[in-house]
Symmetry: C2
Subunit: 437 residues, 2 copies
């Protein structure tokens, strides 16, 4: 990482999500010296993370070491390190006590869920952004059924079997659907004292409808499908309190063992590091070439960015948008490194929205082209397998899905201690031991 | 769990390892009311755990929910609960604050590695008994390579790339071989600053040879094979010190980032619960029908037991022996429940020993029948796939092995925070940040 005057342009990419990965790939063969920094060793296929949380897939099926992805791209060095700050004037990134000088910096550190000023709720209602999150939620969910089988008190048993998902976007819808299938199908004949089909699953959305960015027809379809699966859909409901024993919606109390948070957006800190202009969610305002105004050597991509498309609609914070931005920025940098003309300003192309609801049920909106039900579900499945990385994951995920489809079972129903802190359920259990049986 | 005078015989099995599982299966259809208690929700196929620790398999591939295994056996209730003690006089098992009365008790809680009185070494040199252990070791191993790529100091880099395995039994041999393959094959082209093939792997055995229970010919073969793979095999070497920065063998110091403990045996506490006679390793002495002398209602199976076979050789603490004992005890209990004649005393049948060393290399001893090399490796692979539970795991494990064989890659190279405590490597890293780059 020594500064080489006249040597190849040094490009540092922070974050190996969809945006960072595509930027680096677009620089294959370009005369640059690329360093990718990420605090994890793996790229995660977040759109399927809810399937890890509900025991359908293993973490290894949807995550790949970043350095394996770039093993053949010789201008890339991958380092697992956590960035702590950027010295914009000196053009240096600080990560784990090491200084990385850059000529070009790409920030692709993403966003997470927002608790709307109630960050203390995070311990009771984890989000779903990392493998650790997914494993903690899986542990939590499965443990609730185990505790219910041990419990002797009927009220406690019903509380244990109540699960709340906050946020009716694609993640919330997919999670609630998968939880319903877990309870009603995968677990059904395995308990002797409780009937897992009695589990109560509540999906809470503050807005007037689920899947707000989809056409209304598909929102209605999603709500109806979830209803048939036994999910209580609550729209125009706002969580006003959240603790270890459940949530409140105004005066209404829902006692629950497990609450998962899939609402709101708050950007990661990267905007602060470089002193960029940000919106209320911390997302960075960028120029037409995705660089910071007045800082042409700093680019920002993915859901860390706030921007509008040509129709004045906000660009969504999803994987396809992040990939388009990453690819575009890679091309801008490659042009600069080759002293070629800069590409035209970035223009987001909206290909569509997809959300699966459950077995044989999905909502697909690709512009004029809409699909529901079985056909949508097939489309969703094929699209997701296609976007996985590598032959191995495609085979394993396809097989796991086929097997689950045929047997109604789940392949990764493990309760392991994955989080460093005890779950709220565990904290409660420590305080109130189960009564005699 | 109410005592029903005249109702079916209440059998409580503690532990869902190989022994407990077989006992419960042998009681299918018997007029008993079975309760299986385990502190985990899953049965683990321990013989392949080293492949999880070395990133070849995912935890979900070799572990299955106990209640799924028994979903169709209606006389079984499975509960996830940690046993804290047994009231032998009142015939009650206490688990998580709940009392479980029994007519028959089967203890199958297994054994773990022994640190020979130095239990303080456990934090520096984890054993390999649970999924959490395997994931912690995997994290540790992979993190060492990542840290080496970040390190600027050559001495520190070499320390990071030094891995020690203590114990030359099958687990130690398999682990050392798998580590060598990980470093020399799976990772080889993925780093830019270090060459993972320079990793030093040291296998330390206190006795005169590896695989002490195998014929000498196979021990020699294993040592030679490991040597060719670049593993330093050190026999008649005893670890005298162990800390976060490595191990000592007498005056010789080996600085290492990762030490894994695969030596010694110490039984779990269950012998104490029932006040049984135990050997120095805490293993329980049982009568000819595997029950406690003077306590015909308490049976003990698996590596919690110390016993000799007909030739006066100790029965090994492995999966086949545990399964034979479990099956036998199940038959004894079924006979009692049906008031039939008791089976003849338990006789252990030794089928053989297997250990894989690496790619196309394994040692197999089946009585007169011995195999090495490619043939032994195939035999080992087929035997292990055969003993996995269910179609799904057989397909997934077979595919993962085929894929690894063809590509030299590993499917589950994830660094995630799986342990509640930081690893020794992390503790060190916190104390001494990496120097500038």
């Amino acid at each position: 990482m020594t500064a080489a005057a006249g040597g190849p342009m040094r490009v540092v990419i922070v974050g190996a999500g969809f945006g960072g990965l595509e930027a680096a790939r677009a620089l294959a063969g370009a005369p640059v010296q690329l360093t990718i920094l990420d605090r994890q060793n793996h790229h995660l296929f977040q759109p399927l993370l809810y399937q890890v949380a509900t025991a359908a897939l293993s973490p290894g099926d949807i995550a790949w070491p970043v350095r394996t992805i770039f093993r053949r791209q010789q201008n890339v060095t991958v380092l697992m390190a956590e960035v702590t700050g950027v010295d914009v004037a000196a053009r240096i990134v600080h990560a784990d006590g090491v200084a990385f000088p850059y000529d070009i910096l790409v920030l692709a550190t993403g966003a997470t869920h927002s608790y709307f000023g109630r960050d203390d709720w995070a311990r009771f209602a984890p989000g779903l952004k990392t493998i650790e999150d997914a494993r903690a939620i899986r542990r939590h969910l499965l443990l609730a059924f185990e505790r219910a089988e041990m419990a002797s008190d009927e009220v406690e048993r019903q509380r244990l079997l109540t699960f709340v998902v906050v946020g009716g976007g694609p993640t919330g819808v997919e999670l609630a659907g998968a939880m319903a299938e877990l309870a009603r199908q995968a677990l059904k004949r395995e308990f002797r004292r409780v009937d897992p089909r009695r589990a109560r699953i509540v999906l809470i959305e503050a807005g007037p409808r689920l899947l707000a960015t989809f056409p209304e027809e598909l929102s209605d379809y999603a709500a109806a499908s979830l209803g048939r699966m036994g999910v209580e859909v609550r729209t125009q409901a706002r969580v006003t309190e959240c603790d270890a024993a459940g949530v409140s919606i105004g005066d209404e109390r829902i006692d629950a063992s497990t609450t998962v948070w899939a609402a709101g957006v708050v950007a990661s800190q990267a905007g602060e590091w470089v002193g960029a202009e940000r919106d209320r969610a911390g997302r960075v305002v960028v120029g037409p070439d995705m660089s910071l105004p007045g800082r042409p050597e700093i680019f920002v991509v993915g859901d860390l960015v706030t921007m509008k498309d040509r129709n004045g609609k906000p660009v969504p914070g999803n994987a396809p948008a992040a990939k388009q931005m990453g690819r575009y920025v890679g091309r801008v940098i490659a042009a600069r490194a080759r002293k070629a003309a800069a590409p035209a300003p970035f223009a987001y192309r909206h290909h569509g929205d997809l959300a699966t609801i459950g077995r044989r049920s999905a909502a697909v909106d690709m512009g004029g082209f809409r699909l529901k039900g079985l056909l949508g579900w097939w489309f969703w499945g094929i699209a997701h397998v296609y976007y996985l990385i590598g032959f191995r994951s495609r085979v394993v995920v396809s097989f796991e899905w086929l097997w689950s489809y045929l047997t109604f079972q789940r392949g990764a129903r493990l309760i392991t201690r994955s989080a460093s802190a005890p779950t709220p359920e565990e904290r409660r259990a420590d305080a109130t031991p189960a009564a005699g049986g």
